[in-house]
């Protein structure tokens, strides 16, 4: 709406006179010339927010890099746990979904007597986790397939150049980086080890008073939770007491 493109070269007299437009164009060139000569580049501010003299648009690339936009699928990383081990449990979901078949995993098992504390909750771990970044097509399906939030592409950097193909084969030491991630649902946040917990197990209904479990039943007894008095003619609502 509003803009009408035209192929008609005949415009107004000023443009047809040639000289004013020429000078105008020279003025723009001169402005950029002097701006680049005397101006500065404020790298801490977004381009659109820059004012005054810090309006140089040229990016001095090796010294200054434009950050990739949010959601950019960059180089993979294996997400570490709090204890520094990868969250990965070698379930092969990423290797299965990978359309380029660039992920190679070998699974191992922690020894029964391993003194590794949390590691014993999940006894499976990757002994090898290798991504061939040359083969990778950066589709991000591995990130979506991962049930453990163990592989992410949130590094916001692309694959670095290497001198040989071997350098593009990333293994666990190269992939394991970035901030550690922990979820309340992680098994090692729920139990001490893979054996049966030492405390006596109680059924859910016996644990109500301990604050561990809150049953959302309509008849949960407590102050302020008495069942509503139902008048005649009203069907009892299931969620009345919620």
């Amino acid at each position: 709406m509003g803009y009408k493109a035209t192929q008609d070269p005949r415009t107004d007299v000023r443009e047809r006179a040639y000289l004013p437009e020429l000078l105008k164009g020279l003025g723009i060139t001169a402005r950029h010339f002097f701006r680049n000569l005397f101006g500065t580049r404020d790298t801490n501010t977004q381009v659109v927010d820059r004012k005054g003299t810090s309006l140089i648009t040229t990016v001095e690339y090796p010294d200054e890099k434009i950050p990739y936009p949010p959601g950019y699928r960059g180089l993979h990383r294996l997400v570490p746990r709090e204890d520094g081990k990868p969250r990965c449990v070698a379930c092969y979901m990423c290797a299965t979904i990978c359309p380029a078949q660039c992920i190679y995993i070998e699974a191992g098992e922690y020894e029964v007597e391993a003194k590794e504390g949390e590691s014993r909750v999940i006894e499976k771990f990757p002994t090898q986790f290798v991504i061939d970044e040359l083969r990778c097509i950066v589709c991000g399906l591995c990130v979506e397939a991962c049930p453990k939030d163990a592989i992410r592409m949130d590094t916001y950097e692309h694959t670095k150049p290497e001198y040989n193909r071997q350098g593009f084969v990333y293994d666990i030491p190269k992939l394991l980086k970035g901030p550690a991630v922990s979820h309340p649902s992680d098994p090692w946040n729920k139990r001490e080890g893979s054996e049966q917990p030492h405390h006596v197990h109680k059924e859910a209904h016996t644990r109500i008073g301990e604050g561990l479990v809150q049953l959302k039943t309509p008849h949960a007894v407590g102050k302020g939770h008495e069942p509503k008095q139902i008048g005649p003619g009203h069907a009892p609502s299931e969620r009345a007491v919620k």
Binding site: T96, A107, V112, I122, S194, E203
Partner: protein
Amino acid sequence: MSENDTQKPTGDAQPNPPKPPAPAGGPPKPPPPKNPGFVTCTIDGREVVVKPGTNMIEAAASVGVEIPFYCYHPRLSVAANCRVCLIEASNAPKLVPACQTALAEGQVVKTCTPKVKEQQRAVMEFLLLNHPVDCAICDQAGECKLQDYYMKYDYRPSRLEGGKVLKNKRKVLGPRVVLDQERCILCTRCVRFMNEIPKEPQLGVFGRGSHERIDVFPGSELDSNYSLNTVDICPVGALLSRDFRFRARAWFLSATPSVCTGCSRGCNIYADWMSQDTYRYRPRENEEINKSWMCDQGRLSYKYLNLNRVLSASVGRRATQAPNTATPALTRVEAAKAAAQALKPLAGSAQLAVLASPLCSNEDLLAGLSFAKGTLGVKEVYVGGRPQGAADHYLMTADKNPNRKGLELIAKGLGLTLKPFEELAPALHNGRVKALYALGTEVPGDAEAFAQAAARAEVFVAQAITESPLDAQATVLLPASAHIEDEGSFVQQDGLLQRFRKAYPSKGDAAPHWRWVAEISKALGGATWSSAREVFRELAPQVAEFASFNWEQASPPDRERPGINPLPTGADGRPPGYREFGTPRVRGI
């Protein structure tokens, strides 16, 4: 409508039998059977005629109606404790367990009414209530009935509030089996199996309510030779094989019907493999031999297919060479020519002996022995093979060679004399035998001692599967394929001839025994064959016992009938074995 159809014969038949005078006030007499000697009833509108006593699951399966079940197993006693097979029957007021209930005449069974569907969904919800949904680290994922039935009958989130019951996630039950008590749904299949099939009651159910768990009896362990069958029949990932655990995901494996080579019983198996490696054996149903079971020793006997294989041909005794001597790479034809040149001057002489291993298939032996008889002029064959071992009370036999019977039959058919292995070493020592041609280098005695004897032979042409001290003494060593890498047949100890199929191409430069024989024979101007099928077709007529064997038709089908337990093949939608043969293709590993 279907109900009317089945009610009609009962209505017609009611006035017909006047023989017993109906007692007044008694219950109505059952109608006479529509098909005498059989029970006729209707399942989901389809008429079924089955033998009396057949349960509803089997009857429904025969007309293509699938009733879900966990605890039922056709070869075990019925427990009816998983409750997922409850269905509606016309003569019962409530839902009845299909695994436990025999069909009655004129009964109308419905398996997909809303009532049944709600029951199945509710049972699934209960079974999954305390199940730790840790499919990511569960080896059963991909062949788990909980996964299958959840997708089919439940498919909704859990409504459990609060924590799940925590149990022992890694209870090592024995040398070969590990149990995850959290994943267990307490179908007691394993307990019933141990009680009923090997009759070694080592497992039990302990505790009550939410504390209930499968375990071994205190102070004992699950060390039966049949313990790994409990892993097979476990419908969930509770019982797992310690050998296979975490080594491969089920959906990457392809399965090939084959025969176990652990002993002379010849149990039918599926060999699960991926890219030229065999990962496990699973029993394949065969009513005559192994039912649905196999022993642990046979199951773990797959390892020789992967490890310590002879992968390239070599000329010259490696035992006398300095270690790491560079040997020139030989093509198959060059290696066969070297073997032919070594054997040619000895053809027809009494100094040449043939050592045949009962580990070879019938085709290997047919080709090898007819070559030995016809071209080499040998009259006597020494029998090698693995040493005798222990037998057990059920399936495992003492003879650890899968094809001794076949070797005997073929030698008889070809008119060759079989001589015991013990006579070969003295013959080598006193110089009566100066040249040896070995089809397979497994020896029943001490391999080191026999290697010393073989060192005295001037010519020792060996076709070997596995590296051994004996192979190092071979003047010409030819790498041979294992049975999984080619098709063929074995004769098990009771004389049953069984075919097995090819899973993957031979490792390295290995070739089947019969192909090496064909190459050597070709170099000497003898007969030659291009496939195992051709070997059998041309040479089997000399063996009377093989006359009635149809080699092609006896080939086992490469997939199970459609059912509950699918083959782990192409489960991700890709064709089986899509991961190409050879090492994984990520570079630099």
